[in-house]
């Protein structure tokens, strides 16, 4: 977001665009990347309800992927994924990038 002059911004510190933090990316904070295995996923949403960064993507109540623009790689999703399912795995970001 380009920095605006005092004549161009709303007064009083008001932020008019609700949820515009969505355009601020925190994905580069990651050391580890969650890798999701769609085949194994049972869509229990244990990861989704626990994610602090709203980074588990859903469609029609089912998981469809991970928002890497915002995911900080905390690993809560993989930890919460039931042991028997293990549809999420944390991989070093550098390895994940190399694999790409």
């Amino acid at each position: 977001m380009s920095e605006r002059s005092w004549k161009e911004i709303p007064i009083g510190g008001i932020i008019e665009e609700a949820g515009n933090a969505d355009s601020y990316e925190t994905g580069s904070w990651r050391t580890y990347r969650p890798i999701w295995d769609a085949e194994k996923c049972i869509h229990c949403l244990a990861c989704w309800i626990a994610c602090p960064d709203s980074s588990i993507l859903l469609e029609d109540g089912k998981m469809v992927g991970i928002d890497y623009a915002h995911c900080k790689g905390c690993g809560i999703c993989a930890f919460e994924c039931p042991d028997k399912i293990s549809a999420l795995e944390m991989v070093l970001e550098t390895d994940a990038a190399a694999a790409k």
Binding site: G19, N20, L45, W48, S54, K72
Partner: protein, 309 residues
């Protein structure tokens, strides 16, 4: 009755792109809170982690109306907003139902904001107060608060040669709020999402003030691996350090009675802030905390028995 599958039908009202630490469970609490509360909710938050990380100008992570005023006054601020709503509604200038939620961390609630909270509850505003309790002033660098457990190492109660961390037990905030005789008081944690979101729905449906104390683990301040935030929330419940219970018009209900009540040391283990307590010289502190946990747990169960009858 919201469970993840039902909640997934609701819109997520807190976006990513906020600047909380990785693994921040207070932010999970915020998501769950608003999944349950919905779009027509005015949120006020005291100065603290959540306020700071979600509203760094010109960005906001809130998709609902949001106000931050200062550290000690989120309850007073929201009571003013609720009074404005009441006035405008009586005048016929607004008719939709709007929820009012004030929030603060443990510093903003147990300590500096307690007067403002007490006043707002006494006045009977139709509002819900959420304390997201991460048991220290995390935003300013992990200083002890009135909500910090006994024995905790913080920046202002460090483990020294003479003093082994915080020497006082935490202020019994939930009990203080019960003593306000408001319609609804509860303890919850995002570690049990269904329990928490059910309580939010119940609190908002009730006419009058409600209070929920929400234990929200902080990997940075508690010093455990970030991926285990939900686990440390559950352990606090299953050791009965943080019982899940609610008090509706004076009637107690314990929402979770652990099948196996774990020793409090199970929750302490793995948290860097309690590591020193496992040294031989400090083990008496764990025993003291355990005795206090047992006493309080028994008293909650007893009151459930007395009031349910």
């Amino acid at each position: 009755m919201p469970a993840p599958k039902q909640l997934a039908q609701h819109e997520d009202l807190v976006t990513g792109g906020h600047r909380a630490c990785a693994g921040c469970l207070p932010m999970t609490a915020m998501r769950q809170l608003l999944l349950a509360a919905g779009q027509d909710t005015v949120v006020g938050c005291a100065t603290g982690c959540v306020e700071v990380v979600t509203t760094i100008y010109p960005y906001t992570a809130w998709k609902t109306p949001f106000i931050h005023n200062a550290f000690e006054n989120s309850a007073a601020t929201i009571s003013g907003a609720e009074a404005a709503y009441t006035s405008l509604r009586k005048q016929g200038k607004i008719d939709k139902k709007i929820n009012f939620i004030a929030m603060g961390g443990d510093g903003g609630t147990y300590d500096i904001g307690l007067q403002s909270l007490s006043g707002a509850m006494e006045r009977g505003h139709n509002m819900l107060y959420i304390c997201y309790d991460n048991q220290a002033y995390m935003n300013t660098g992990i200083q002890r608060s009135g909500g910090t457990p006994k024995g905790t190492a913080t920046s202002t109660t460090p483990v020294g040669k003479v003093i082994p961390g915080k020497t006082q037990f935490p202020k019994p905030l939930t009990e203080i709020m019960i003593a306000h005789d408001i319609p609804f008081v509860a303890q919850a944690t995002p570690g049990y999402p269904k329990d928490f979101t059910d309580k939010v729905e119940k609190a908002l449906a009730i006419d009058g003030p409600a209070f929920i104390n929400v234990l929200a683990p902080c990997p940075r301040g508690w010093r455990y691996p970030a991926e285990q935030s939900m686990e440390y929330a559950r352990l606090a419940v299953n050791t009965c350090f943080w019982p899940l219970f609610e008090v509706e018009y004076g009637v107690f209900k314990v929402n979770r009675k652990p099948k196996e009540k774990l020793p409090v040391s199970k929750w302490f283990e793995g948290q860097g802030r309690f590591r020193h307590l496992f040294k031989e010289a400090n083990k008496g502190i764990i025993d003291e905390v355990q005795a206090e946990v047992d006493r309080k747990w028994a008293w909650i169960l007893k009151r459930e028995e007395l009031t349910q009858a």
